[in-house]
Symmetry: C2
Subunit: 204 residues, 2 copies
């Protein structure tokens, strides 16, 4: 009995809420709740307010669907970037990963998910129609598909390909192969096989 | 530039707040913030409210300092428990660990920390005076010191021992030794040495 209710319903509710987050178990949730309890009242209020503010006031870039403070996002607004190249990704997290490489100077298009019949996500739940509108109206010359591999990602890439292949644009995808620092011994067969098929001229 | 501000100051604030928690880095914080953003508005409000409610309305048991909803905590209030035995622990988390064993039927006394000159925590910051009051007035026959080992825990145990050793009570500490399932080979020398010194009659 006591094991479950932590001696206080307020504490239990806070633990319940933390453990509703992905990857946070009840032991960690308790540690986080007790940590918050030790902070000054203003800090706890600021902590809580940041999430309701985010939820209530969040806006999305009308072009690429990136989370933004209003109007165009900083990337779509950047005139120095290549506006003829659009990289299609699942989520903002993928944008951040690609931005961190410093190798990409085009724009993005965030789908907001991938096609997943198991989770009830169909093509109409994603921002695919908006992608087609961009291709029609904005001088897009290349669409780079950068979805994660796996059945759902491949399905989504194929679906998008079918939808946009009739337009006069290049449709590309990111290179697959053995990662830098990876051992051949521990690379899966599909990746290693693909990296041999797509071998490139050695330039030392 | 973009890498830091996540394209939205609201999102950045939410990520900052999550990553202020112990053990949560900025990548995890972003994942949690984006997860919250996908939840219904009511859920996010309930999430946020749980922490301000906890902070603003939390109460502590006047006897053992356990978090409680008001008045005595469920343990101090339990007449079937042994009120002559008091186990001294650092925090509520230790209480939960001990309760989970099902082997303890006494009461607790939560210090609220351990003596740590590095962190500026001295004896007067802990609930040691209240422990002495309990010993004086409440028919305590045994105090079981169950603080974590390490210099700070040992210092705290020794300090408490000096403070209470003049009272007519037993002062005990939890047994140290090789844990069930631990290999002797990987047990540290101090623990293994102590477990040999304190060897017990074999009862198969």
């Amino acid at each position: 009995m006591f094991k479950q209710n932590y001696s206080s319903s307020l504490l239990e509710e806070a633990v319940d809420q933390f453990s509703s987050l992905p990857g946070i178990g009840r032991k960690t949730a308790l540690r986080l709740a007790l940590h918050l309890l030790k902070q000054p009242k203003e800090n706890v209020e600021r902590f809580s307010r940041s999430f309701t503010n985010l939820k209530n006031e969040v806006k999305f870039c009308p072009v690429c669907n990136m989370i933004a403070d209003g109007g165009l996002c900083p990337i779509c607004n950047d005139r120095t970037r290549d506006h003829s190249l659009v990289c299609v990704v699942e989520s903002l997290r993928d944008v951040l990963s690609i931005e961190n490489t410093g190798q990409y100077r085009g724009l993005y298009h965030i789908l907001g998910g991938i096609i997943s019949p198991m989770d009830g996500v169909g093509p109409s739940d994603l921002h695919i129609r908006e992608l087609i509108e961009r291709i029609k109206s904005e001088g897009v010359k290349e669409v780079l598909l950068a979805l994660n591999t796996g059945m759902e990602g491949e399905t989504t890439s194929f679906y998008i390909y079918k939808q946009i292949s009739s337009y006069p644009i290049d449709i590309t995808t990111i290179a697959r192969g053995v990662g830098f620092g990876d051992d051949l011994e521990y690379t899966d067969e599909l990746t290693l096989g693909r990296s041999i098929q797509n071998r490139q001229i050695f330039k030392p």
